[in-house]
Symmetry: C2
Subunit: 146 residues, 2 copies
């Protein structure tokens, strides 16, 4: 089968060293850290500002790629289900999608809040958050898209 090749665009640094201490999801996490974007990709950051919420894709380099069924949220009291119906880090292509708040940005380094990702995890993409019409209407003014 065809394979595609991914090159990291940067790397995460934070104080999350163990899976047991890592929040299950970005939602509600107050953990901060920094994303160092490699200098050759610096131009891609133009337009990202402090206070933005960005979508960050990580390559979970320590996740098992050969598991297709898991206990939801690691809770063994619940029956296993398919990884594609969960947000488990374990999956054939171990990519995480996080929404992170930009606390600061200087050159190629972003300080972000909301981490549910281990220290030293490669970053493979950053996107603008897409606000749907419905969500936008319910959001406080501070979260309006520009």
């Amino acid at each position: 089968m065809t394979a595609f090749s991914i090159h990291p665009i940067g790397i995460l640094q934070c104080n999350l060293q163990k899976l047991e201490e890592t929040p299950k999801n970005y939602d509600g996490s107050e953990h901060s850290g920094t994303i160092e974007v490699y200098p050759q990709f610096l131009a891609g950051l133009e337009g990202i500002r402090r206070g933005d919420t960005i979508v960050v894709l990580f390559w979970l380099d320590r996740a098992d790629r050969n598991v297709l069924r898991v206990h939801p949220r690691g809770d063994k009291s619940k029956p296993k289900r398919g990884v594609f119906s969960t947000r488990s880090p374990v999956r054939p292509n171990p990519i995480a999608v996080s929404e992170l708040f930009v606390e600061d940005i200087h050159d190629n380094v972003l300080t972000v809040r909301g981490l549910d990702i281990l220290d030293s995890t490669p970053v493979i993409d950053i996107k603008k958050k897409l606000y749907s019409g419905k969500i936008r209407n319910n959001s406080p003014a501070g979260e309006m898209p520009r």
Copy 2:
């Protein structure tokens, strides 16, 4: 630099053949199509049901990987900005993140609505949608997570 290898887990079939006819985002798109998940990944789908909203990651195999600045939404009247501050398909690792409504599921084939992706695009991951606390409180009962 280290590279990671991605293997498609499935493929999209839909009637979007040209970029000019393709919606800019999933939000508001009424285009339907089918995702055929390859048989060896079938167990990963267990738990996905008709009526769910799923997060689907696509590998945009026809996107330019060497561009770092673009006109937002292709609008040349607007100044260029960094691809990481947009949702342009053009980016170093051309991965799209779409939220799609599951109209139907039979074995390894999902019928999905909300497409902004070209026909024959490889699928690389499927996840449960994460509903934040705030959004959950504002959502109609039909959109509550299970």
